[in-house]
């Protein structure tokens, strides 16, 4: 959304040069979603639509409170509802606000082939710069959380911007502003972690022994974190990955394969060149022609003899 200037970036997709990132003095921000306070009212969803001026298609009811049924180019955040019964038969309705996690080590950015289509600011926000997006869908493959969606209209990838346009001018994201129960909070990542600690202590007092913070280290931590009552089983919350990580396949593709392939291609080209210099061309000589002529003559004669 907010493509400001390159000095703001600490990471930039498909770019070999390291951005200057002079803004490293900025605090890293984080959105903390306290699932234990969330009532699933979808105010965040409508605020997201309002602020970003999105109106995804009105769908049908299909046997779930999730509407729209999934994230899409016009739905950057979505409440997901899971009815979970524990071993004792106690019902819990686990409601989770889904959307971009703004990984510290963003898989989308890693996978993106278009220079500057995905950037990360010094405050940690991962943003899609639509103008540079080529619509290949590699970000979808790179994301461990299944977040980016490609628009069928303009073939560009869209997701939550963490309201980088608001945060950039000192406002909180629209969902945070609107959340009626304070289940979504925003601030420096350190503050959010401290606050999460208090919340987790309180949840443990209430009997949620496995309450904890979801800030997965496998992706370097995230700038959107959850307080979960069952942090030991994140997948209960509509399939939040237990151990999210950038797929090893993507790692290989965007890691080791790139230099290896370049080396291989260069090697082949250089070898050919060297061979050309050392051995020179393979030319058909007059002797070859003479031998060919001789064989042709001979065949002709044999042919006439036979006929």
């Amino acid at each position: 959304m907010a493509d400001l200037q390159s000095q703001d970036y600490i990471r930039r997709s498909a770019t070999n040069l390291t951005p200057p990132s002079v803004r490293h003095h900025e605090l890293e921000v984080a959105k903390l979603i306290d699932v234990s306070r969330c009532i699933g009212c979808k105010a965040c969803q409508s605020a997201c639509m309002e602020w970003n001026n999105l109106r995804p298609e009105m769908e049908e009811f299909n046997g779930a409170y999730e509407n729209p049924h999934d994230l899409n180019p016009g739905t950057w955040t979505l409440m997901r509802f899971a009815e979970y019964e524990d071993e004792q038969g106690n019902l819990e309705w686990l409601i989770r606000k889904d959307g971009c996690m703004h990984c510290e080590d963003p898989g989308c950015l890693k996978a993106c082939p278009a220079p500057g289509a995905i950037v990360q600011y010094a405050n940690g926000i991962v943003d899609f710069i639509s103008e540079n997006c080529i619509g290949c869908g590699y970000c979808v493959k790179g994301c461990p959380f299944n977040i980016p969606r490609i628009s069928a209209q303009d073939h560009k990838s869209y997701k939550c911007t963490l309201c980088s346009d608001r945060v950039g001018v000192g406002l909180e994201p629209a969902c945070v502003k609107t959340c009626p129960t304070g289940a979504i909070m925003f601030g420096s990542k350190d503050d959010m972690k401290d606050w999460a600690g208090e919340r987790i202590a309180e949840l443990k007092e209430r009997g949620f022994q496995n309450a904890g913070l979801y800030d997965p280290p496998e992706v370097g931590g995230t700038h959107v974190m959850y307080v979960l009552h069952h942090a030991d089983k994140p997948s209960l919350y509509s399939g939040l990955p237990d151990k999210p990580h950038i797929s090893a396949l993507v790692g290989a593709w965007k890691g080791v394969l790139k230099p290896l392939a370049l080396a291989g291609l260069a090697f082949a080209a250089v070898s050919a060149f060297v061979h050309s210099i050392v051995s020179g061309p393979n030319e058909t000589t007059e002797a070859d022609e003479a031998r060919a002529r001789a064989e042709m003559e001979k065949a002709k004669r044999n042919g006439s003899a036979e006929s």
């Binding site: 498909a14 770019t15 070999n16 082939p113 278009a114 220079p115 540079n132 997006c133 080529i134 619509g135 290949c136 869908g137 590699y138 979808v140 493959k141 299944n146 490609i150 069928a152 073939h155 797929s247 396949l249 993507v250 290989a252 593709w253 394969l257 790139k258 392939a261 370049l262 291989g264 291609l265 082949a268 080209a269 050919a272 061979h275 050309s276 051995s279 020179g280 061309p281 393979n282 030319e283 058909t284 000589t285 007059e286 002797a287 070859d288 022609e289 003479a290 031998r291 060919a292 002529r293 064989e295 042709m296 065949a299 042919g303």
Partner: protein, 224 residues
């Protein structure tokens, strides 16, 4: 199409057109593919107008390529079947590379190196096609799981690198072995060329009195 007198037809007009369609597609796919593979090549996207155009064209070029290559395959597969001569030829690869081809055992229409190129492409291109379909976001983005697509994109990249390596070999060989380029551009070779590089093919043409490219051709051998 007429050919100079006393020459042998190496590739028919159909073959040559078919080849160059394939070749053009391959080159464009290589350029766009590399642009999407590694940032150092992203500038190549400008050749296609923009990154978006490039992303949109690449899969269609792939579809064209696979259809086109199928035509080549039908025309070439018989002559690319592996035989004892190829083993002997391969054993003398050092001499081949050293341009001492007189000392190399004779081969038919294609030598073992060409056959490796042929079968390499015949193997890799369908893989690229299938994996390419899986990651063709516009039409098949939601058709398979993301994990499948991750596998597909990795295989697609590996395959593409393999195909490009083969292609470099192919192109260099055409430059290196003089007369090859003409054979694919204009279709004909001199008898000496045929004798030097594909003696058994030459001899069979001579024996059947065929003008090429295949011995069973019905046309009469062209007089000098």
């Amino acid at each position: 199409m007429s050919y100079p007198k006393g020459t042998i037809v190496r590739n028919s007009t159909l073959t040559r057109v078919n080849h160059w369609i394939t070749g053009l597609c391959f080159v464009l796919l290589t350029l766009s593919g590399l642009a999407m593979f590694h940032p150092v090549f992203f500038w190549l996207s400008n050749l296609f107008g923009s990154g978006q155009w490039m992303r949109a064209l690449h899969p269609w070029l792939g579809v064209t390529l696979i259809v086109s290559f199928l035509g080549l395959f039908i025309q070439f597969w018989r002559d690319n079947l592996w035989n004892r001569d190829d083993v002997e030829w391969a054993k003398s690869l050092d001499k081949v590379l050293d341009n001492r081809e007189e000392e190399v055992p004779p081969v038919g229409r294609f030598n073992a190196g060409q056959k490796v190129v042929f079968w390499g492409m015949a193997l890799i291109l369908p893989v690229l096609f299938v994996t390419g379909i899986l990651i063709w976001e516009v039409y098949f983005g939601g058709a398979t799981s993301i994990e499948t697509q991750r596998v597909a994109v990795l295989i697609h990249s590996l395959g593409a690198i393999g195909a490009i390596l083969i292609w470099i070999t192919h192109v260099y060989a055409a430059i290196w072995v003089k007369g090859s380029m003409r054979a694919m551009l204009h279709g004909w070779v001199t008898p000496g060329w045929a004798h030097r590089h594909h003696r058994k093919w030459f001899q069979r043409l001579v024996a059947t009195g065929s003008p090429g490219p295949t011995p069973d051709s019905t046309a009469k051998f062209r007089e000098h």
